[in-house]
């Protein structure tokens, strides 16, 4: 809690009469006229966090993909993440737009800045970054206390998972972000860290940067003991399972440890990421959660 407040304090450089200058998560200085009261979120994760902090009254625009919580769907839409409508954004008169380096286009950011709209960029590659995003959004929306509270609760749940799986083995895990082409979480991916916390060892932990492509052969050669298929709010269930069932040399297939997990929980870095972590832990160490 104290740490969160300290972080928030370091982030805000208040100069009376000249508005606020803040520094975003990739080190850019963002000049604000005052505490933002009209925020457009171009990132579903950010939308979720803002609602979780109870600051949704400051949110004036969201993307078509901001579907959680359900109330978010009632906010004005600005289009997709790749090509949001500049006109709609402008007409919402935002004093801050929040975007991400993983999903928003640089060109969109540049265009918004040229129109005089401040853009705040976030990115999360590690769990620590997720707490950071929550803290920063708390500072920006004046809900530092709620942010601290939220982070504390989430961290407690993370510790609980760590303790539950501490005793067990660490099976080799293959996480399938996308089956065709096979895309897996790599070195810099948040999912890799979560698999570790959940008591598993991702077989692609040393690969590429965040979400590299991977040859199916290489995956089979590393003999994963658990295979997790990410579900993206569209069915990847039945059909894909069939594709994997043929790989009988793989321990995960032999032992029937092929599970679907909710991709939305794990690929967004809102508070539900801990729900995702718990889902991972239950899939990797079912015995610890009976």
């Amino acid at each position: 809690m104290i740490r969160t407040l300290a972080v928030a304090g370091l982030l805000l450089v208040a100069s009376p009469g000249h508005g606020l200058g803040v520094r975003d998560m990739i080190g850019r200085d963002v000049a604000l006229a005052g505490p933002p009261a009209r925020i457009v979120s171009l990132v579903p994760s950010v939308t979720e966090i803002v609602f979780a902090l109870g600051a949704e009254d400051r949110l004036v625009g969201v993307t078509d993909f901001c579907d959680y919580p359900p109330a978010a769907r009632r906010k004005p839409r600005v289009g997709g993440m790749l090509a949001p409508s500049l006109e709609v954004i402008t007409s919402l008169r935002p004093d801050l737009v929040v975007a991400t380096t993983e999903g928003s286009r640089e060109e969109t950011v540049a265009q918004l800045q040229r129109l005089g709209i401040p853009v705040y960029l976030v990115a999360a590659h590690r769990l620590a970054d997720v707490w950071d995003v929550i803290a920063r959004l708390g500072a920006l929306t004046g809900r530092e206390a709620a942010a601290g509270h939220l982070v504390a609760g989430l961290r407690a749940r993370v510790r609980a998972v760590e303790q539950a799986v501490a005793a067990g083995s660490r099976p080799r895990v293959l996480y399938v972000l996308w089956p065709e082409p096979l895309i897996v979480p790599g070195r810099e991916s948040l999912v890799t860290e979560l698999i570790g916390i959940a008591g598993g060892r991702s077989i692609s932990a040393s690969e590429g940067t965040d979400y590299p492509r991977f040859a199916l052969e290489a995956a089979v050669a590393r003999a994963p003991e658990v295979i997790l298929l990410a579900n993206h709010s569209a069915s990847t269930g039945g059909i894909d399972r069939e594709r994997w069932r043929g790989l009988t040399s793989v321990p995960a297939i032999r032992d029937g440890r092929l599970h679907a997990v909710n991709g939305d929980l794990l690929h967004r870095y809102g508070p539900r990421i801990v729900d995702g972590l718990e889902q991972l832990a239950r899939a990797i160490h079912p015995e610890a959660f009976r």
Partner: protein, 337 residues
């Protein structure tokens, strides 16, 4: 009516239509602005920081300029390629030249060129190199000199496919997060660009036009065949090189600033030919304005039909272009099918 007067009349009418379409486009968009609000912004009655002003003058107006310029450049490139190859089905995307230019841009972006006027100039250079390589490849694959309709189309398809695959290879090394952006670009999108970039775009398009327009009369003579044109006093080799360079530059500038947009160079010249006849001295300047009208209309549809989301303008032109292409083949080239 003397030919000069006819040209002026045609250009006058087309320019008027362009102005009307452009004006109409100013009133269309996903921010719900009333016509009065737009007019107020245009006449400076609203503040510079007001929504009306920003949307109308900083978002819509530059985009309209880009659309008109890109459409004009692509249409002229189409006329030029058609005259050069004596083949009415030739145009930058059919000949694989757009693909080559797009590949050039993708390479340029992967070595770090991107923003600012200098970055845009660098990308245009890469696009031009790609366009030249592609056009040269088509020439070689088709067998220099034997530019029959079938051979040319086939060569263009082959070269286009090759560059599409090459682009896919480069893309496969792009990380997943940036993938969406790259694919979005490949579909061909017009977007608001800053004034400096718009200026550079206009400059390179003008340079391309300057390489083609003065030789419009000689392009007519080329229809007699290269040998016959030479016997009339045309320096065919030099002419081909200049027209080729001009068409490649026009294509490259559009691809660099807007991405690969197809079929404009096919639809617009043919529509104009039906109205004005085959004289390139009328077609080239008319295409520059007519192309602008077409692409501007297509882009206005693209950005309003599923508002606030936007369709890529390349999707609209392909949807119009592919059936048009088939219709052309069936009516003009029955013998081929």
């Amino acid at each position: 009516m003397s030919p000069g007067a006819r040209l002026v009349a045609v250009l006058g009418v087309l320019a008027l239509v362009l102005l009307l379409v452009g004006a109409a486009a100013l009133f269309v968009g996903s921010a719900a602005l009333s016509p009065g609000a737009v007019l107020a912004a245009l006449t400076g009655r609203t503040g510079a920081r007001s929504i009306e002003s920003v949307v109308t003058l900083s978002i819509r107006l530059p985009r309209i300029a880009v659309a008109a310029l890109a459409g004009g450049a692509l249409a002229v490139a189409g006329v030029a390629f058609q005259a050069l190859t004596r083949n009415p089905l030739a145009e930058p995307s059919v000949l694989g030249v757009s693909g080559g230019a797009a590949f050039g841009v993708v390479i340029g972006q992967s070595v770090g060129l991107g923003f600012g006027v200098l970055g845009a100039a660098g990308l245009t250079a890469f696009a031009f190199a790609g366009a030249v390589v592609a056009a040269g490849a088509v020439y070689l694959v088709a067998g220099a000199g034997r530019l029959s309709v079938q051979t040319l189309l086939l060569a263009g398809v082959i070269v286009g496919l090759f560059f599409a695959s090459a682009i896919t290879v480069v893309i496969s090394f792009v990380d997943v997060n940036r993938l969406g952006g790259v694919i979005h670009w490949l579909l061909g999108n017009l977007a608001t660009i800053p004034p400096a970039s718009l200026g550079l775009f206009a400059l390179t398009a003008a340079a391309g036009l300057a390489l083609v327009l003065p030789h419009a009369r000689e392009l007519n003579l080329l229809a007699l065949g290269e040998e016959a044109a030479q016997q009339l006093g045309v320096d065919a080799e030099r002419l081909k090189l200049q027209i080729f360079a001009g068409a490649a530059l026009l294509t490259a500038s559009v691809v660099a600033f807007a991405g690969p947009i197809g079929f404009v160079g096919l639809i617009v010249p043919h529509a104009l030919r039906l109205l004005l006849g085959p004289d390139n001295r009328l077609l080239v300047p008319a295409a520059f304005v007519g192309g602008g009208i077409f692409l501007l209309a297509a882009d206005t549809v693209a950005r309003s039909i599923v508002a606030p989301a936007e369709l890529s303008v390349g999707v609209i032109t392909s949807f119009c272009g592919a059936p048009f292409f088939v219709w052309l083949l069936r009516t003009r080239y029955r013998a081929l099918l």
